[in-house]
């Protein structure tokens, strides 16, 4: 795998540029020298949080709407793993993260560096998560929710696949359940006042944000 130039713009911690929300301060929070500025991950190391945040942003990148990093999904993701995950799921996540890191040349090279080669990671994420027909995807899901295989090579695939599937699921919940997406991009109506059962979709636009 050839080395690529690290993208300096995404090297700053978890890279959140959100304003006006409880997530303020996440921007530079992962650097040890900026601990006082705000959020710190509870479960992940700052460096791993930075990596997971990058993966989330590859799964849900910025388009005309914000990307995963823009809304600070890592705060929710880290909290979920730390507090809500069962012990066995935590262990599975940690094992998969370790295997994933092993595959990244740019990450292995300097254990103190926050520079992440996004293109390199994108290739790995695509390889494991992005190239399936729906049928193959069903098999993939069967694998990641099943028991770990005995075969070592299969185990690596299982571990990384399970890890990336968790990151995808957490990213989606974190992103669409965030205040920014919920109030500014989805259709937000906290007090509907009535129920109308069959109206033109064009009257509403995007999905309702509150379920």
């Amino acid at each position: 795998m050839k080395r690529r130039t690290a993208l300096k713009t995404i090297s700053i911690g978890v890279g959140v540029t959100v304003t006006g929300s409880a997530l303020m301060g996440v921007l530079s929070s992962c650097r040890s020298e900026t601990k006082s500025t705000g959020w710190q991950p509870s479960y992940l190391s700052p460096r791993d949080a930075s990596l997971v945040s990058e993966i989330a942003d590859i799964i849900l990148p910025a388009t005309e709407t914000p990307g995963a990093k823009d809304v600070g999904v890592i705060v929710y993701m880290d909290g979920m793993i730390d507090q809500v995950y069962k012990t066995e799921d935590k262990e599975k996540f940690a094992a998969g993260l370790a295997e994933f890191k092993n595959k990244i040349d740019s990450y292995r090279a300097d254990e103190n560096s926050y520079d992440i080669d996004r293109e390199e990671i994108t290739d790995i994420v695509q390889e494991y998560l992005g190239r399936y027909t729906q049928e193959e995807w069903d098999d993939f899901n069967g694998m990641v929710y099943g028991d770990p295989p005995d075969d070592l090579a299969e185990l690596e695939k299982y571990s990384i696949s399970s890890f990336l599937k968790s990151v995808k699921d957490l990213s989606i919940a974190a992103y669409f359940g965030s205040e920014i997406i919920g109030t500014e991009h989805l259709s937000y109506l906290p007090v509907p006042g009535e129920y109308l059962g069959c109206i033109p979709l064009s009257d509403v636009g995007n999905s309702w944000s509150l379920g």
């Binding site: 409880a22 590859i58 799964i59 849900l60 990148p61 910025a62 388009t63 005309e64 709407t65 929710y76 909290g79 979920m80 507090q83 809500v84 995950y85 012990t87 994420v125 695509q126 998560l129 992005g130 399936y132 027909t133 729906q134 193959e136 995807w137 993939f140 899901n141 995808k168 699921d169 989606i172 919940a173 992103y175 669409f176 359940g177 965030s178 205040e179 919920g182 991009h185 989805l186 109506l189 906290p190 007090v191 509907p192 006042g193 009535e194 129920y195 109308l196 059962g197 069959c198 109206i199 033109p200 979709l201 064009s202 009257d203 509403v204 995007n206 999905s207 309702w208 509150l210 379920g211």
Partner: protein
């Protein structure tokens, strides 16, 4: 609320134990009929609106979007978590911690005892589905030779259904079905496009099957001033947090304020009633003993009548713990049925599917309600099955939201952008079925394992029977057939893990019947042999039917309160 203090009297006309659905009604009816009434609640006080702290919070306002920490669940809610939903942060404060209120299950059996100890009890968190029982429900035990016959008929209760519905406010559609009598209705909520298709599909393909809008205790239509300070349902679907609009019926929003308005009610929270005091000379109860949940001091209160409305299990627990020379096995337990015949509604079985079409249609509002398929099995000769009794379905349809992305095989910008639009329509129906009374399904008191107040804990021994299991198979099959007939695709069925109690409709442990040989209570909900004690919560139920039971508890309570006051006036109590 007038709260008990050091200057309050210890002598009352009536004592009501519990402030949930039925206790609130007992308090209202007795106070309105002029009785000085002490209302005892084992939990903390809850002020209407003021104490609904989470009522207007959005998902992102909660840590982890409201998902409860695993360590907290393992430590405090190992049994309450079985529902999956009660432990969410938005309303977990309305449910007890198992760590503070433990109970046990006999090896190999399961009973899900989901409780809320506070003023208002589970009336704050109930499902609000409100259906009358039918004449056939009250006749079923006698006809089938199961359990013991009901000592009342539908006609005995019908005027009391009218009475409670008019005050509570029940939204629904009249259908004129013999198996599901109509209530005094406020306007029904709307069905959505695909639910209308379900209605058409089911009603045109199956004789005697109907789809109606769910009947719920929510205020709809022009209600101004007719329900006191309560306002219309705002379609926020955040009911379980407590409603700041008073849009649904709860003790806190409706019955307790009415009781308070009479000036006759004294409310005492933190009052764990552990005994009904029995006087063998007069053969009457003279009052109750309580332990203060906070100070752990004990007190005695005296009254002419006692209403037990502590919930099926806890009212029974009080009676079982009220041992005396006359009642060594617990108050009113000559029959040996006290604590037995635990019933619930078994559910978590049904079908789901996708619906193609209506891609340009959507809905507005978060309707706290669904559609209802009234019982259609064993209602006449043509619908006779190889199991007894029947079931109804609750269900609905809606459009997929962004959560569908988790199941899709894609990542990236286009994938993300596609998830902003609503997905395809899907829907489903879930059955709620009758459980037969079975003497073997029981609770016992464990004096070897005491709680923090030094009181015996409960051990349950409850198991599903053959009739219920046969019914479940039919519930899944019929659900799938009805969805397919309505044009649904990719129809699947499910039969998830269910334990008795999960429906939170526990009932039957101090049943009504014809005599003290077969039951604990008579046709007026009086303890057969101790006539100034009335039990009008789920404990009194002789059979379970398949309808959600709270409306029937309300009607039975109002009826019993009316009788109790008339008997008091005649000096019969």
């Amino acid at each position: 609320m007038p709260i008990f203090d050091d200057n309050s009297p210890t002598l009352y006309d009536a004592i009501v134990v519990g402030t949930g659905i039925s206790g609130g009604w007992a308090a209202k009816e007795l106070c309105e009929k002029g009785l000085k009434t002490l209302v005892l609640e084992r939990g903390r006080n809850v002020k209407h609106i003021v104490d609904y702290k989470t009522a207007s919070l959005d998902p992102w306002d909660f840590e982890n979007q409201g998902r409860q920490a695993e360590a907290v669940l393992e430590r405090d809610y190992p049994k309450q978590r079985r529902t999956g939903y009660t432990v969410a942060k938005e309303h977990v404060h309305w449910f007890v911690k198992d760590s503070e209120h433990p109970y046990d299950e006999v090896d190999g059996s399961r009973f899900d005892w989901i409780r809320g100890y506070h003023v208002g009890g589970r009336s704050l968190v109930w499902g609000r589905q409100s259906y009358r029982w039918s004449p056939m429900d009250f006749e079923a035990n006698a006809k089938d030779g199961v359990g013991t016959p009901w000592p009342i008929k539908y006609e005995d209760l019908a005027p009391w259904y009218d009475h409670v519905e008019t005050f509570a406010g029940i939204s629904g559609q009249a259908e004129n079905l013999p198996q599901l009598p109509d209530s005094k209705f406020l306007p029904p909520m709307q069905m959505n496009c695909v639910e209308e298709e379900m209605k058409k599909g089911i009603e045109s393909n199956f004789s005697n099957r109907h789809v109606t809008m769910g009947r719920v205790a929510h205020l709809t239509g022009d209600v101004k001033g007719k329900f006191g300070d309560r306002g219309n349902c705002q379609f926020r679907n955040r009911c379980m947090r407590g409603c700041p609009y008073g849009g649904y019926f709860s003790s806190n929003a409706a019955t307790l304020p009415a009781a308070e308005a009479t000036g006759n009610m004294t409310l005492r929270p933190s009052s764990v009633v552990f005994e009904v005091i029995y006087d063998k000379d007069s053969k009457r109860a003279t009052g109750v003993r309580i332990i203060d949940a906070e100070t752990k001091k004990t007190y005695e209160f005296t009254s002419k009548i006692v209403f037990l409305n502590a919930s099926a299990i806890n009212s029974t627990w009080i009676m079982m713990n009220s041992k005396s020379d006359a009642y060594p096995e617990g108050l009113g337990n000559e029959s040996g049925e006290l604590g037995h015949n635990i019933m619930d509604h078994h559910f978590q079985v049904g079908a789901y599917g996708k619906y193609d079409g209506y891609n340009d249609r959507y809905y507005k509002g978060r309707r706290p309600n669904g559609i209802y398929v009234p019982r259609f099995q064993n209602i006449d000769a043509a619908s006779k099955q190889d199991f007894l009794r029947g079931y109804g379905y609750q269900g609905g349809a809606g459009r997929e939201a962004w959560g569908r992305g988790i199941a899709e095989a894609a990542i990236g910008g286009a994938f993300k952008d596609s998830l902003f639009a609503p997905g395809q329509w899907n829907g489903g129906i879930m059955a709620f079925g009758e459980i037969l009374p079975n003497h073997d399904n029981k609770m016992t008191l464990n004096y070897d394992k005491l709680d923090s107040w030094g009181l015996p804990t409960v051990t349950f021994d409850c198991n599903m029977g053959e009739n219920e299991m046969a019914m479940r198979a039919d519930m899944a099959t019929q659900a799938a057939e009805m969805l397919e007939a309505s044009g649904f695709k990719d129809v699947g069925t499910y039969d998830n893990s269910y334990g008795i109690g999960l429906g939170i409709h526990e009932m039957g442990t101090a049943r009504m019947g014809s005599s003290s040989k077969n039951s604990v209570l008579n046709k007026w909900n009086q303890v057969h042999s101790c006539k100034n004690v009335f039990v009008t919560d789920g404990a009194c139920m002789t059979s379970a039917a398949c309808q959600n039971p709270s409306l029937t508890y309300m009607a039975l309570t109002a009826r019993a309160a009316d009788y109790a006051v008339s008997e008091l006036k005649k000096q019969n109590l």
